[in-house]
């Protein structure tokens, strides 16, 4: 049964709630829905799950974009109500008929709502019955599983599902297990806004069920194993330890005598620091503190290309669109938005935005524009582009303050060092950018200390040692083949002893699929509870950005033994100078993780560290390429 149904304006005033369903909602699901879903441009998703102590709800919504209204239905998660979408669209139609911007109370809507609800429930019952009749004729496993799933926990039909499962004995366990697994899966993903992962998991489940009965059993076993893994506290020794003990033998290619010395690094003597010149540490002002000059000539280019894209369509289409733009079309339908959105999506993908993200963004923009009246003298393309631009600015604007210096001062007052951990996959530039951040902090009179917790890669400790020497800051190192979590812990203790304000912890690069390595990483984070977990990602990455960030977040959440795990707090985007205007990786990363981009690395020297300029990124993303349009025209 529905818990609550609300109608409110986009400005925030609640116009109508159902008085009969008087149960007060626990927690604040509506506010959370708005903050983490609708404002995050995920309004194209099908539903949203909300957990509060003592309740777990699923929320479904629909918009009336012309009048600026939002309709939200809340119900318990364990129920699978089929009629909610139907009901919402019917309510939308009826309410928009009686809506008046000046009115603020709509008590007469109560009766209409009751009527509509009965109609919708009746229709859903009919659909269920017709499905069940079809089941006896068609022995398709997939459909059966689907309807058992739908009918399983809904009030009156419990008896029916019991009867069905009695018919096929083996399926009985599966059917009961299925809702639980769904619930389990959803619990793992809740609060992280990972609706696509959930939808994907359900899709896989359905596909597997269609192939055969024993596959289902295997799938169930795997899933229960995974569930068990997430629950137990695991502290396995990383597997690469025994491998490292086997030292590498030098390869001998021909009969030349063995090279005795291959290590040409300077011996670190007590006076080693004096040999290096002090000038190297001062390369001028870091680019973080310099103003960004946005070129204005790019704007005129953008308008030209936009005109070109409009001429793109056929002559007849052009004429009708001109006519419509002058007259102002009645209401935007999804079919009208599709060509413009497709063009935009392709444009975004050529700018290196991940395909999944571009798809979701376009859906969200479509949801916000559907049913809106076109203002006269505007084309559909320009409306869509304006909406997309607004959405992009909204996503890239950070949700919380990214003022690190303020945080450092706050930690300083409390007397403890501010700990930053750099994580990421192999070769993205963690150590290089760590040195850049240290340089920038030094320029603002902050005492920095480095911690070399990359105890795996050869040369990592020496690399950091060189940086520390050039910047003249202390470095805490324990050599190789040590447990990084313990090294980090001791580094933090050392920092509080010698009065360092910030500790920058360097970790080894690891692939997001490598479970033992991800476990050691989450252990490091759990043991040391850093103030900032910075994910270092390169701007060259394409669709893999989505996979990297979502898996990192997921593993950090799943493998952490604490009930409230630390996730990625910020993103450091590197190698920005290698991409011209294909800046889409920034958008993919911010969208999928919700973390703001705190720094942008744009070169290999100490001063090449910038802040993200939201306006220039949005401009670069929306600029259509002229060459591509020429191909379309011919």
């Amino acid at each position: 049964m529905l818990e609550q149904l609300l109608i409110f304006t986009r400005g925030g005033l609640i116009l109508w709630t159902c008085k009969e369903l008087g149960n007060a909602l626990r927690g604040s699901p509506i506010d959370t829905l708005i903050r983490s879903c609708l404002l995050e441009e995920r309004s194209g998703a099908a539903s949203y799950n909300y957990d509060a102590p003592g309740a777990s709800y699923t929320l479904k919504w629909t918009f009336h974009n012309e009048l600026g209204l939002v309709f939200v239905a809340v119900y318990q998660r364990i129920l699978h109500l089929l009629y909610v979408d139907d009901l919402l669209s019917m309510i939308k139609q009826e309410f928009s008929a009686i809506y008046d911007p000046k009115r603020t109370s709509y008590n007469d809507f109560d009766d209409i709502f009751q009527q509509l609800k009965k109609e919708a429930e009746a229709r859903a019952e009919e659909m269920k019955k017709s499905k069940q009749l079809g089941k006896h004729v068609n022995n398709n496993l997939g459909r059966k599983q689907g309807q058992v799933q739908n009918g399983s926990v809904d009030g009156g039909s419990k008896k029916k599902s019991g009867g069905e499962s009695g018919n096929d004995g083996g399926d009985g366990d599966k059917s009961r297990g299925r809702p639980l697994e769904n619930g389990n899966l959803r619990n793992n993903h809740v609060g992280k806004g990972e609706v696509p992962a959930m939808v994907n998991a359900n899709g896989k489940e359905n596909e597997a069920s269609k192939t055969g009965a024993f596959d289902l059993n295997k799938l169930q076993k795997f899933r229960s194993k995974a569930a068990k893994k997430t629950e137990t506290v695991v502290n396995k020794v990383p597997k690469e330890e025994p491998n490292k003990k086997i030292t590498k033998k030098n390869r001998v290619w021909d009969d030349s005598p063995k090279e005795s010395k291959l290590d040409f690094t300077d011996p670190v003597s007590e006076n080693g620091e004096q040999n290096i010149s002090v000038v190297a540490a001062d390369e001028g002002e870091s680019m973080m503190d310099k103003e960004e000059i946005i070129s204005s000539d790019s704007e005129s280019e953008e308008e030209e290309t936009r005109k070109d894209s409009n001429v793109d369509s056929k002559k007849k289409g052009w004429f009708s669109s001109m006519f419509q733009s002058i007259a102002g079309k009645a209401n935007l339908q999804k079919s009208d938005l599709e060509p413009a959105l497709k063009a935009l999506k392709d444009g975004l993908m050529t700018k290196n935005v991940a395909e999944e993200i571009a798809e979701k963004l376009c859906e969200s923009v479509a949801a916000s524009l559907e049913g809106k009246r076109l203002a006269s003298f505007t084309r559909i393309t320009s409306t869509v582009q304006a909406a997309m631009e607004e959405a992009l600015v909204r996503i890239l604007t950070p949700r919380r303050s990214i003022d690190i210096l303020r945080d450092v001062h706050a930690a300083k007052e409390q007397g403890k060092p501010y700990v930053v951990v750099f994580v990421g996959v192999n070769g993205v530039g963690k150590s290089t950018n760590l040195a850049k951040v240290a340089y920038w902090l030094l320029q603002h009179n902050v005492n920095v200390m480095m911690a070399a917790c990359d105890t795996f890669r050869s040369g990592a400790v020496e690399q950091l040692r060189t940086h520390a020497r050039r910047l003249q800051i202390p470095i805490f190192e324990k050599g190789y083949e040590k447990d990084p979590a313990i090294v980090a812990k001791e580094a933090i203790q050392e920092a509080s002893r010698n009065g360092s304000d910030v500790v920058l912890v360097d970790t080894a690069g690891r692939m997001q699929d490598n479970e033992p390595l991800m476990r050691t990483l989450s252990k490091l984070i759990y043991v040391n509870s850093p103030d900032l977990v910075l994910f270092v990602g390169e701007a060259l990455v394409g669709n893999d950005a989505v996979d990297q960030l979502s898996k990192f977040n997921q593993k950090l959440g799943d493998l952490s033994p604490s009930p409230d795990p630390r996730l990625i707090d910020g993103i450091l985007l590197t190698k920005f100078d290698t991409i011209d205007d294909k800046v889409g990786a920034a958008l993919s990363m911010v969208y999928i993780s919700g973390a703001p981009v705190m720094f942008v690395g744009c070169g290999q020297s100490y001063t090449d560290l910038k802040k993200l300029n939201v306006k220039s990124i949005v401009k670069a993303l929306l600029k259509l390429e002229v060459s591509r349009l020429m191909i379309c025209r011919s």
Binding site: L6, F8, R10, G11, G12, L13, I14, L15, W16, T17, I30, D31, I34, R35, L38, L39, E40, G68, V70, T104, S105, M288, D289, K290, E291, V393, R394, I395, T397, P398, R399, R400, S401, D403, L405, R406, H409, A410, H444, K611
Partner: protein
Amino acid sequence: MDEEKMEKLKIQLQQLLNEAHEFVQKIPPTQINVAIAVVLSTIVLFLIIRLFKRKSSNTIVLTGLSGSGKTVLFYQLRDGSSHLGTVTSMEPNEGTFVLHSELTKNGKVKPVHVVDVPGHSRLRPKLDEFLSQAAGIVFVVDAVEFLPNVRAASEYLYDLLTKASVVKKKIPLLLLCNKVDKVTAHTKDFIRKQLEKEIDKLRASRTALSSADISNEYTLGVPGEAFAFHQCSNKITVAEASGLTSDISQLEQFIREYVKA
């Protein structure tokens, strides 16, 4: 040679002047008068329009963190009640109306243009559109949940006070402590002192980044002294209100002070 040329030019100029003089004299006087009158009246019209523009606008901007009660206050001002309640705003609420409590007043009351800007950090850019026409800003603070949000509130307030449009036009700011009907609400003096302390700290860390932040062109307060609100060039006052119980008299006073009836 040059002197001859000069002489010739002089003579030519004089001839032109004479011709022009005769031409002007030939036109009947009414036409000249009408032409002069038209030119003068257009100049006067422009001056009047300019004067009108400089006259105070009637826009009041309600801003503050998300959840501080701006939308409730907006509807209290407009209708006298907050109806069925509010949720997080996704878009600004605008309206030009006579304040609800003044509907019963006799005589002509000037309507006020009130704008309620969403407080969610993702929607901050919307504030800039309305600041340019603001006659007064109301910064709403949640007096109950003040301490957990004091940093975010002070950062927002700092950004607001250092915006070019606010400093140049000296837009007055009212610090409104909302939700005072609750028992655990803090007093307005406490809130004011805490905000001053936080902004003082922000001054230190923000001046470090000042050249990178284009919007923060101005620094606050007197360097070397602790920050206090009375050091700002625009007038800052503190008041209390309660949106849910319609206790908004101090807010209405502020509005009436700066939007002349």
